[in-house]
Amino acid sequence: MGAVAQGALRARPAAGPSGLRRAEARAGWAFIAPWAVGCLVFTAVPMVTSLYLSFTEYDVLRPPRPVGLENYRDMLVDPRLRLALWNSFFYTALYVPLSVALALGLALLLERVTRAAGFFRTAFYVPSLTPTVAVGALFLWVLNPSVGILNRALALFGVDGPGWTTDPAWIKPGLVVMSLWSLGGTIVILYAALKNVPRDLYEAARIEGASGWAEFRHVTLPMISGAVFFVLIVNTIAALQVFDEVYTMYFGQMDSGAGSSAALFYVVYLFRQAFEFLNMGYASAMAWLLFVVILVITLVQLRVSRRWVYYEGR
């Protein structure tokens, strides 16, 4: 739709006297001025400042002191930083595939029950409206090993649930469970994509005698691959930057033992370095590492996507 309309805009030459065209350009600039100013003040200048600060030692109280590459060298040997990176990667690698697979499964289920789909879609979406701090407070208890409803439910099936909030090995899986609870947005996107698959493709597949799986594999999946790719990218970027829930659960005025290592996610560590320990220089360097990591992962995903994402009209 966008491309067509844009084409229409371009197809019409800017007619009339050049004065009119200049007036149009001036008005255009006036309209985008808020963004232009904001981009300069809140993005461009801060980016440069951040890059500069990453080569300094800075605690806000005293002026920044240039230290060259020291922050970056420190990052190489900082065990907490390595831990934070590992934690974030581990969580992302577990959460992203699970979230997309589960959401796709539920979206497919929704599609099966045409009439009741609206009700269930709402039910699945409501948890993702829960504010992140509330999710953290709530899941501290949902996941509680002895009194939490998750382990109580598992006990009904004779499963002895793990220490989701106390056992360092299970803290990250517990956080993944928590994040999977607010999956609603991903379900809504994939369900919308499923509904956009042209019906006649299914009929053609059926006439050709395709089995249910073949139909899914060769019709459904290619047709929704664009949306799947979108949620993969968005969920990955979001997962690498998780902060609110984790900070609510395991950090704050008192460090809660097991959590402060197993749940030390990258942005949590960055925040603590910047605003709790006032190592603004080091935190700036950390922010740039995060930027590079996200950039590389996104570019790799884009690259790989060319092999499996199908766009109509290409």
Binding site: A25, V60, W141, A192, R199, F230, W288, F291
Partner: protein, 300 residues
């Protein structure tokens, strides 16, 4: 067209005029199976929220007793948390930040999006490329320098840094709204021009009313984001009275929860107060939530 779903022919359920009965029974059985499965998943999804509300109404010693129905029902928990902490100010602050920020971002993003969609000027497409590029930038990169700016302006420990940045638009919404403006026929604006409208009136009287749905989507999304945010209030607010609701609840957890006084019924009551307004908003604006998400995912 914009948000309206493209009308896709529904899968025809009864294609065959004559259908063998056993086949119909089989189909009904599978449909029943799916319904039961979905109902089961629904219970799993809603159970934590049910637990939250139920636990917030229990006595201190019963909070974790595993019952679903509180007995006795302690409405007084809500009064107690009100007394224990300035919850009313927190709610007010959250509301002020949420409304100001959401209105600001909706209007500014709409103006910028209109600038990019309608006007023809040199460098426009390059600049729009810049908009897209900055969408990739993680917030952590600008977090510290932006804090330094507000610090320099003496506005740290006020509510201003939580919403004023929204006056300059937000790239994600600019991108979204531009899509909608591009969908409007240009003739509409030409007609308005002939009627003597200036550019501002064209935006305000023609473009905005026609993209009302999209504007509500932006407003609702941003309100949710601001209502939920913990990071900025942690960075910018020190005085308890200035806290927003999420920041306040974090304090409550530190004070009454983990290693503190263990008064979880109060924390959970406050958590319920934080959660319920958003869910209420959702039931009023459900369409916009769902369509907004579906659109960003499938057309974005």
């Amino acid at each position: 067209m914009a948000l309206a779903e493209a009308s896709v022919p529904r899968r025809q359920v009864a294609t065959y005029a004559v259908e063998r009965p056993e086949r119909r029974v089989g189909r009904m059985a599978s449909r029943l199976f799916f319904l039961v499965l979905l109902a089961g998943v629904t219970v799993v999804f809603l159970a934590p929220l049910a637990w939250l509300v139920s636990a917030s109404l229990k006595t201190r010693s019963q909070v974790f007793n595993g019952e679903w129905v509180p007995d006795p029902v302690m409405w007084s928990n809500y009064v107690d948390v009100w007394r224990a902490a300035p919850v009313l100010s927190w709610l007010q602050n959250s509301l002020v930040v949420g409304l100001l920020g959401a209105v600001a971002v909706t209007l500014s993003s709409a103006a910028v999006a209109f600038g990019f969609a309608y006007f023809r000027f040199r460098g426009r497409d390059v600049l729009f490329g810049l908009v897209l590029a900055t969408m990739m930038l993680p917030g952590a990169v600008t977090m510290i320098p932006v804090y330094l700016i507000w610090n320099e302006l003496g506005l740290v420990n006020t509510l201003v840094p939580l919403w004023a940045g929204n006056l300059f638009g937000s790239v994600f919404y600019v991108f979204l709204l531009r899509q909608f403006y591009l969908g409007l026929p240009r003739d509409l604006f030409d007609a308005a021009r002939i009627d003597g409208a200036n550019y501002l009136q064209m935006w305000w009287r023609v473009a905005l009313p026609l993209t009302r749905t999209a504007l509500i989507v932006v407003f609702v999304f941003e309100f949710k984001a601001l209502w939920t945010d913990l990071l900025k209030p942690l960075i910018y607010l020190y005085d308890t009275a200035l806290f927003t609701m999420p920041r306040g609840i974090k304090t409550l957890i530190d004070r009454f929860g983990q290693g503190g006084e263990m008064q979880w019924e109060l924390v959970l009551a406050a958590t319920t107060v934080l959660t319920v307004p958003l869910i209420a908003l959702f039931f009023f604006a459900q369409r916009y939530f769902i369509e907004g998400i579906a659109t960003t995912g499938t057309k974005g």
